[in-house]
Symmetry: C2
Subunit: 337 residues, 2 copies
DNA sequence: TTGAAAGCGCTACCAG
DNA sequence: CTGGTAGCGCTTTCAA
């Protein structure tokens, strides 16, 4: 497309200075007289010279790029995290590079091995790998988000999944529900697992024996949210309340309830995890556990930038920040007593 | 984090060969005896050596990276395009780098000037700039998607916005509607403009004088979709049909109709542009103009890869592919006669 | 089949 | 304040 691009040498020659001087001007260092600086700047303009950042990076080993790796880019939860990190990164002078892996471990690996993965200054990772070992292999400042692994040698930003599920379940119980179901996906990561344990613990504490028929597990998809909800509601002893353990599952549940012609918050109570468009649309709105999605990205980016800048020696043990969640009460939970 | 990373030199020394040979092995070139190849490969394993792609790129000026630049990453239309391009790119051996500009021109520029922008092999751009000149300045294989500019010196992949709007409007007319409103946003780009002209043309052709009260313009946001719909429906002479010119506007319209307690496809008819979650959720479902979103990304990526590989001389005049749209008829349009 | 050496474009150190 | 120069890690002639 373009012929040979013009380099620092061309500028130097035309300005009758050394490349060293041009470099100084480019980087805004002092030790350059005002006269020469002006002259060089002018030539740069004239020649329309743009420094080759890659060459620079070769020597100083910095690219001012961050990457944020997520499993899927269609889920608003992830895009919210991305937004948060991008905002901070920009403020701090980094570009952010987004990669969606489709939850595929090998795609994640490929990326980290690639030009991009190798050359960013730091990584914010919502990983798809299930073993700490993989993460330990990442030789670069990295912050794990949402999914954490012990002994992974990296810092993390999580939310209190356990508590979110616990509070949702408790809320049902306070309102008099006893036959409370939960639908979720595979327990591949701590987030899913913790939500299940939160639910379970709340049940136990209230003396409600966890009924295996009330815990339906599928994949974390809207289709399965739909299917599992139908199964629950058409069983011989349907629950009076359902806790849908993430946003897409919740959407499926909402559809199912609608399709079965049941009245939300009347015939059946529902709580979702994470806000979602449908939950806000239906009437009454669906009560959900809200987590600070954007904030997670912000925190992660701030931690990452700090880590990139700090001298390696100063780095202590990996720390994992846990952000709180909040139950947004709407009208989808019926008061039984 | 990591100390000095090991380089091609280390491998060469340990294998008792020259760096040239190691380089050949890395790149799978022939002219290396099987014996040495094996030996080098073994050392590479042992040392856990990973070639520095950046250094390589410095000399051969290729990075095997593509970037796709979109205005917003929250809109499913854009993510669908992204998915399409990523798929093709991967198949062709390129990594895709996603950038969301928030529709901000300067952010778009910053990106193109950045390390990333400078070092990708090609760009797929849903631009936020409004003048062809800007695009002409991009000295790199680029495909414009969705928004096109004449004389921009780049190829493009568009859809037939005009026809989509035209058909939607015609559909209303066939069903007996006469007071047909349209809501849209700023006419900053061809897409929005064309939709308006398609609507207008359909009206004129059918002898329906375009009533200025029936064209409400705001921004391309859900909030404005809501607001404009309310305005229309509460005016002294409300329309019987509304064409919402994009997905978010349509969502706003759906909410508004619901909040006014009107029956979709009965009290008011609606057609949206682009599918969206709410349109599929409500009953009856909303009739929409569907465009091949994913396919746009696929086409664009294929064109881009071809362009990157072809010798500069072969490049003819910029060409713009226009993909068709389809009216997905659901129950949101009432038959008046 | 292999190696030596000249870069790619820039930075940073050391002299002057 | 300015210039010379040695790399950064790799590729690619050109010779051997």
């Amino acid at each position: 497309m373009t012929n040979r691009s013009i380099t620092i040498k061309d500028v130097a020659k035309k300005a009758n200075v050394s490349v060293a001087t041009v470099s100084r001007v480019i980087n805004g260092l002092d030790r350059v007289s005002d006269a020469t600086r002006k002259r060089v700047l002018k030539i740069i303009q004239e020649l329309n010279f743009v420094p080759n950042t890659m060459a620079a990076s070769m020597v100083n080993k910095k690219t001012k790029m961050l990457s944020v790796v997520v499993p899927e880019i269609q889920n608003p939860f992830y895009t919210a995290v991305i937004e948060g990190t991008v905002e901070v990164a920009k403020r701090e002078g980094f570009f952010t590079l987004v990669l969606s892996t489709n939850g595929d471990e090998s795609e994640e690996e490929d990326f980290l091995e690639s030009f991009l993965g190798k050359n960013v200054d730091g990584i914010i990772l919502i990983g798809s790998h299930k073993e700490a070992e993989f993460y330990r292999g990442i030789q670069k400042p990295t912050i794990l988000v949402d999914r954490y692994f012990n002994d992974c040698d990296h810092d993390g930003v999580m939310i209190d999944n356990y508590r979110g599920a616990y509070e949702a379940t408790k809320h049902f119980i306070e309102y008099g529900h006893e036959r409370i179901a939960m639908i979720d996906g595979e327990h591949d990561f701590n987030d899913g697992k913790d939500r299940f344990w939160g639910y379970r613990q709340a049940m136990l504490e209230s003396g409600l024996a966890p009924d295996p028929d009330c815990h339906k597990q599928g994949r974390w998809t809207e289709a399965d949210g739909y299917r599992l909800t139908i199964e629950l509601l058409q069983s011989k002893r349907p629950p009076t309340a359902i806790f849908a353990a993430n946003n897409v599952l919740c959407k499926g549940a909402i559809r199912a309830i609608r399709d079965l012609n049941l009245r939300m918050g009347e015939d059946i109570s529902l709580i979702g995890f994470d806000e979602n468009e449908l939950a806000q649309f239906v009437q009454p709105q669906v009560t959900v556990v809200r987590r600070p999605t954007r904030e997670m990205g912000v925190q992660a980016a701030e931690m990452l930038v700090r880590k990139i800048r700090e001298v390696p020696m100063e780095q202590g043990n990996p720390k994992c920040v846990v952000l709180g969640v909040e139950l947004l009460k709407h009208g989808s939970v019926k008061k039984l007593k």
